[in-house]
Amino acid sequence: MNLYTFASPAHFYTLAGRLIPWFAWGAGLFTLWGLYIGFFQAPTDFQQGEAYRIIFIHVPAAWMSMFIYLVMAFWGAIGLAFNTRLSFMMARALAPTGAMFTFIALWSGAFWGKPMWGAWWVWDARLTSELILLFLYVGIIALWAAIDDIRRGDRAGSLLTLIGAINVPIIYFSVKWWNTLHQGSSINLMKAPSMAKTMLLGMLVLAIAAWLYTIAVALVRVRRIILERERQSEWVKAILAKES
């Protein structure tokens, strides 16, 4: 038994099945903890009043929308380079959750923009590039769905993912490169955070919750994909026979 054992779908199926409850419960607990900090410990903002509390979902969702895309691109690249079956399955399993977080980032942004800027939407570089990210997710999912040949679909979808990855740094740096209505990064690795510690903690806790959630749902989805693709194999038949 070595590390590569889990690169085989059969072993990964079992491993993922064991891991899912841990990630799911972790996500639930971190969500409750993060919401408690966000609503009961973090103080009212002196400029934005209570409206700023949208930050606790907006920022983690926006981070996830970009991280998940990069992870998808990573798996796509590994799949294209080494032709590993599981990598493509991981990429496919992540896409719907990435699209969901992108939608949440845009939606919560609109609901934050309206009271603060007076507009639900502006064609500012940050907002526009994030909207393009949503279109990329939808396009990739549609491409996968449209191609019946699994191998060709995997390759085409992953290629599109890789090409679209150029959009992620554009989103991230848009607030620096262009004069945007959207504010600059809330957190910068290079300098001390400019926000209250409890606000920062709430955001980080909910970001971890979002990660745990993403891993849990992606694992559920990848197990389903494994079952479908390996349905002719003996181990899948054995698993299904054991369950019924």
């Binding site: 969702a61 609901f111 009271p115 079952l227």
Partner: protein, 63 residues
């Protein structure tokens, strides 16, 4: 403590619509994803079991 009462909490200093509009839709999106995923996973299993039984019955007729 930030809130004097429940109505104070729901009001969110006058920003209730925006704060709860964001959190509500987020909760709904997560809930919908989880429900769809559970359904799809159950559907796949049902489908595969049906195919398996069908193949098994064909093999049974042959022998």
């Amino acid at each position: 403590m930030n809130w004097a009462s429940w109505s104070d909490f729901w009001n969110m200093g006058g920003y209730g619509l925006y704060v709860w509009g964001s959190y509500g839709v987020t909760a709904a999106a997560v809930l919908i994803e989880v429900i769809l995923l559970k359904r799809a996973a159950a559907e796949t299993r049902r489908e595969l079991k049906r195919m398996q039984q069908w193949t098994a019955s064909l093999q049974g007729e042959e022998s």
